[in-house]
Every structure is written in structure tokens, then in C-alpha cells.
């Protein structure tokens, strides 16, 4: 059973990725990429990494992709918005619908695998408790460094975003 789920998820991931790379409209790319990330998250779960699977959905599909979508919408990058004012055609939303249905089926199949029989739980299973123990004992310094890096990235993003807007006001006087 797990073998079939892996093959379905792998096919969904590859198809969604290929569609994401070839779409002309960046918003469509984002939608396909979210599908691809969901498939990868479920593969992570199959590999016995439930915490990483949850992060894949929360951080990648949730936070980063919404950030991309926000920027694309803000910069108005979607081409031909006037062309499909009457809404996307069936050829555009049908592949996403099929991929989403396949992902939903896989989720239900994963839930249906009996946890008591040990089918759903892989033989190598990293529980969040084990993960946290290793992370904060052996890699405590690395966690600190990564947190500093996130702080620097935030400062850098603020600076780059702010420098351009400040340039305009004194720029007129120069």
C-alpha cells in the first residue's frame, strides 16, 4: 500500500513541478508549486519525518509561497489579465483539480493505514521529541547561528526595502 502511495505522490510531485516551471503566468506557477510541496510533505511523512512534513506545509507551502504570491500580486506581474477577465478556462484549472484530488486521495489512504498494525508508522520514525532532543543538545550552537542569520536577513530585507523608498524623497532635491 505504501508503495502505491509513494508512486502516486511521486508522479504528482513531478507533474506539478513540471507544470510550475512551464506555466507562463507566475500565479499559476505558485499554485502548482504548492501542490508539489504538499506531495513532497506527504513523501516526508512516508519516510518517517512527520515534523519535517508539517514544516514543509507550514513554512514552504504556507509562508514562503504566500510571500511569493503577495509580491507577484503587488508588482502586477500576471500577463494577459485583460485577456482572461471572464475567468480561467477549464484547461487551466482542470490539472490543478486533478492533482489536488490525487493528493486528497493519498491523504485519506495514509489515514486509512492502520496505525495499530504498524503500517502507517515507518520502521524508522523520528518523533518530534527525539528531533527536539537532538536539535537542542547536539546542534544548539547551530540553532543560535541560524537564528542570527534569520535576524540579519530580516534587517537586510528591511534595509533594501526602505533604502529605495527613502531615495525618492531626498532624490528630488539633489
Amino acid at each position: 500500500m505504501a508503495t502505491w502511495i509513494f508512486y502516486i505522490l511521486g508522479a504528482v510531485a513531478v507533474v506539478a513541478t513540471a507544470m510550475a516551471v512551464t506555466r507562463r503566468n507566475p500565479v499559476h506557477s505558485v499554485i502548482y508549486l504548492v501542490n508539489s510541496f504538499f506531495a513532497l510533505a506527504m513523501i516526508f511523512y512516508l519516510l518517517g519525518a512527520p515534523l519535517v512534513a508539517a514544516w514543509e506545509v507550514i513554512i514552504y507551502a504556507g509562508a514562503i509561497m504566500v510571500l511569493f504570491l503577495f509580491i507577484i500580486m503587488m508588482l502586477e506581474l500576471s500577463p494577459g489579465e485583460e485577456a482572461d477577465r471572464q475567468g480561467p478556462g477549464a484547461l487551466q484549472w482542470l490539472p490543478v483539480l486533478l492533482l489536488g484530488a490525487a493528493l486528497l486521495t493519498c491523504t485519506l489512504l495514509l489515514l486509512q493505514l492502520d496505525p495499530a498494525a504498524g503500517q502507517a508508522v515507518p520502521n524508522w520514525y523520528a518523533s518530534p521529541r527525539d528531533f527536539g532532543y537532538v536539535l537542542f543538545h547536539e546542534y544548539a550552537l547551530a540553532v543560535e547561528i541560524v537564528s542570527f542569520q534569520l535576524l540579519f536577513a530580516a534587517v537586510g530585507a528591511f534595509y533594501v526595502g526602505r533604502a529605495a523608498s527613502r531615495e525618492k524623497q531626498p532624490g528630488g532635491q539633489q
Partner: protein, 100 residues
């Protein structure tokens, strides 16, 4: 039964598609998304090998990769906005200020 090679091959396919996207697309934001995709395929390799070797370190590294990807997305998108303010475009063909 699925061996570790299946996961590695899937990861390689996704990485190749991401590389293809980086090399062929003109839209800088789509290129950026392809880079995220490549990072994700590397995550898949890490987790597959983590399970294969029965070792937790691969998953820890996925955590760090995700942190780096989040930081990269924040800084990169800020750069995109700065470029868009200057050039009114994020087409990579317009990024030629450093080109002779």
C-alpha cells in the same frame, strides 16, 4: 518495497526540473521559485538518506535548509521590489547593470 534509490531518483528528477526552470525562464520571481524547488529536492535527499542510515542528522539539516530558504526568500523578494522600483520590470534581461 521502495528502496532509497527510488527517493533519490525522484529527488534528482525534481532537481533537474528546477535547474531547467532556472536556465530557461526570464521572470526573476519564477527563477527564484525554481531555486526553492531545488532546495526542496535536496531536502528529500536528506530525509531519504536520514532514514536509510537510521540517523537523525539529515532531518536536522533539513531544518537548517528551511531556515536558510526562508531568509533567502525574504532578502530576495526585497531585492526584487527594489529592482522593480528602479526598472519597472523584473525580467532578467533587464538586469544588465553589471554587464559591460
Amino acid at each position: 518495497m521502495i528502496s532509497v534509490y527510488h527517493y533519490l531518483i525522484l529527488s534528482a528528477i525534481i532537481f533537474s526540473i528546477g535547474t531547467f526552470g532556472v536556465l530557461t525562464r526570464k521572470n526573476a520571481i519564477v527563477i527564484f521559485m525554481c531555486i526553492e524547488l531545488m532546495l526542496n529536492s535536496v531536502n528529500l535527499t536528506f530525509i531519504a538518506l536520514s532514514r536509510h542510515l537510521q540517523n537523525m542528522d539529515g532531518q536536522i539539516f533539513v531544518f537548517f535548509v528551511m531556515a536558510v530558504a526562508a531568509a533567502e526568500a525574504a532578502v530576495g523578494l526585497a531585492l526584487m521590489i527594489a529592482f522593480y522600483r528602479n526598472r519597472e520590470s523584473i525580467d532578467t534581461d533587464d538586469f544588465n547593470m553589471l554587464k559591460w
